[in-house]
């Protein structure tokens, strides 16, 4: 027994113990057979030749005991007793095995056993609930998907597609009478007449017209910004000379736009692009302008 004191004196207090962890407030013991986990004279498994712990393995709890008689045989040092699964029975078994042992060790063993059973219960409960499954991401694939998405977005041309679809629906009268576009009905009637009157011989001309329309449309879309500058420039140039004419044109446009929709325009927030309408009108009206000039 006196060698315990010597061991504690050297390891515990003065010299190095490899199981000891010092923190600001407390010292811990990393030894797996330690009963409390703290580095104390009464809890150190090295410095006590009569010692007991409770440890669990694969969900079953065991009581480990160490006595002085076996101190010379390290292989047989720790004696292991399987504890019953029943909580009360196991406590009785601990009491049985540790009869006549110091009170401290008995008490701490039971406390440790209680804690272990509690966390085993919690483990079993959690495994029944839904588990969060971690799926590893693969970097290359994520990058590839991201790039493909970006390219698909560009190819989709969402705004155009949505606008086209909405105009289609307008043409097919899904909106009924909400929007009064009289010119639209007139155009439709015109188109129908044209389709009836023209025969296959005019198919080529129609194709050409379509191509021209396509070209016109391409032309328009590509040079949006240029035209906007152009029209501003026009306004600046002709402002001094042809103010009256411009005002008339603007008034005409305003009146037309008011007549076209019962729904009010919502001001600058609505205009995403410069008015292409002006461009169309110029194509038909340059004669008048030049005449006026």
């Amino acid at each position: 027994m006196h060698s315990d004191d010597v061991i504690w004196d050297t390891l515990g207090n003065r010299q190095f113990c490899s199981y000891k962890i010092t923190t600001k407030t407390q010292n811990f013991c990393r030894n797996e057979y330690n009963l409390t986990g703290l580095c104390n004279r009464s809890s150190c498994p090295l410095a006590n030749s009569q010692y007991a712990t409770v440890r669990e393995e694969k969900g079953r709890c065991y009581l480990y005991m160490k006595t002085i008689e076996r101190a010379a045989f390290p292989r047989r040092l720790w004696e292991r007793v399987l504890l019953s699964k029943n909580y009360e029975k196991a406590l009785e078994e601990i009491d049985e095995n540790l009869i006549y042992w110091p009170r401290f060790i008995r008490h701490k063993c039971k406390q440790r056993f209680t804690k272990i059973t509690q966390y085993l219960i919690r483990i079993r409960k959690l495994t029944l609930k839904r588990q969060r499954k971690l799926v590893p991401l693969r970097r290359k694939i994520e990058r590839r998907e991201k790039r493909r998405e970006e390219k698909a977005l560009i190819a989709a041309q969402l705004d155009n597609a949505i606008e086209k679809e909405l105009l289609e629906r307008l043409k097919q009268d899904t909106y009924g009478d909400i929007y009064n576009f009289p010119i639209h009905a007139f155009d439709k009637a015109l188109q129908q007449q044209e389709a009836e009157s023209e025969s296959e011989s005019d198919a080529e001309k129609e194709e050409e017209e379509d191509e021209e329309d396509m070209d016109k449309r391409e032309f328009v879309e590509a040079e949006d910004s240029d035209l906007s500058d152009f029209e501003d420039m026009d306004k600046l140039e002709t402002s001094s000379e042809e103010e009256q004419e411009e005002e008339e044109e603007v008034e005409k446009k305003a009146s037309r736009s008011k007549a076209k929709g019962k729904t009010p325009l919502k001001g600058p927030a609505r205009r995403k692009r410069p008015y292409i309408e002006i461009e169309y009108e110029k194509e038909t009206e340059p004669a008048t302008k030049t005449k006026a000039a």
């Binding site: 694939i141 989709a156 705004d159 105009l167 995403k272």
Partner: protein, 294 residues
């Protein structure tokens, strides 16, 4: 420049350098007559795009096909399209949603009319589903979250409907959208579904359409778009206004996100025992750049 003196369409081009020594360089290719005579320019070629070059999918749905029409009349969405059921949607998340996901759920519920957001406090989906069916919900949306951003969407049509699992990316909340308008109103929006052509894409499109009530209120002038391009489904929410009969202006409100279908399952959500109608298998399906499934 000599015409074809080699007799095989190879042209010689004269290059004059600064030191005025003349070099002859042979360029191969068609004789460049159009440089001299612009009227005979070759017709402009149609540029090849991935959509043009797409591998033809045998399962492309022809809308006039009788079989398809019959299928549509008898599948799980028929009650919706016959206007027998009104959509009622439950939006929920995975456990412990973080700020972004929560806000996204709220905005999604403003976009989809008649939808309710409930937080999941550790409840199992299998137990939620019978309760939802009992309370007349028609659809269930679960938004999965990873590291505080939503990254997955499970859409389940409730009375025994198919379950689609999507991967969600580029989620933009309302405040991150530039030039956005005011908040979406309570009017039911219109729905636009673009490019859902194949046998797989068609039911997916119908499932997405089932989220919205059947008759849109045109007074609201709102439109929700699901646009499929190269297997990515882009969702946008706009308000439109017709400026003339040929021009319409659109203004984006509402959240936007992209979806990519990962799996389609018959029946409601059941990861272990459900029968999968389609799963995205990377090794088999991602081999060609021009093959798409939706």
């Amino acid at each position: 420049m000599g015409d074809n003196w080699l007799g095989c369409g190879v042209q010689q081009v004269l290059i004059t350098s600064a030191k005025s020594t003349k070099m002859w360089v042979i360029t191969s290719g068609a004789p460049q007559e159009h440089l001299r005579r612009p009227k005979l320019a070759p017709p402009k070629a149609i540029p090849k795009t991935i959509e043009n070059q797409r591998v033809y999918d045998e399962t492309t749905v022809d809308l006039n096909d009788e079989e398809v029409a019959f299928d549509e009349a008898t599948d799980e969405f028929a009650p919706y399209f016959n206007r027998q059921t009104v959509p009622k949607i439950l939006i929920t998340t995975s456990d412990r949603p973080r700020g972004r996901t929560v806000r996204f759920c709220e905005q999604l519920s403003t976009v989809i009319p008649n939808s309710h957001v409930y937080y999941r406090r550790g409840l199992a989906l299998k137990r939620i589903i019978p309760q939802c069916i009992a309370r007349d919900f028609t659809d269930l949306i679960v938004i999965n979250e990873d590291r505080k951003i939503p990254n997955g969407l499970v859409l389940s049509h409730l009375p025994d409907g198919p379950t689609a699992h999507f991967r969600m990316s580029s989620v933009r909340l309302r405040k991150e959208i530039k030039r956005k308008g005011k908040e979406p109103t309570e009017h039911t929006p219109e729905v636009i579904l673009n490019n859902f052509t194949t046998r797989l894409g068609h039911p997916v499109g119908r499932m997405l359409a089932c989220l919205f009530p059947h008759s849109p209120q045109f007074i609201g002038r709102q439109v929700a778009t699901f646009h499929n391009q190269r297997d990515y489904i882009f969702f946008r929410f706009h308000r439109y206004i017709f400026k003339s009969e040929k021009k319409v202006g659109i203004q984006e409100l509402g959240p936007r996100f992209t979806l990519k279908l990962r799996s389609l399952q018959k029946g409601t959500f059941d990861s272990k025992f459900g029968e999968y109608e389609w799963i995205h298998k990377r090794r088999e399906m991602d081999t060609s750049r021009r093959k798409f499934h939706l």
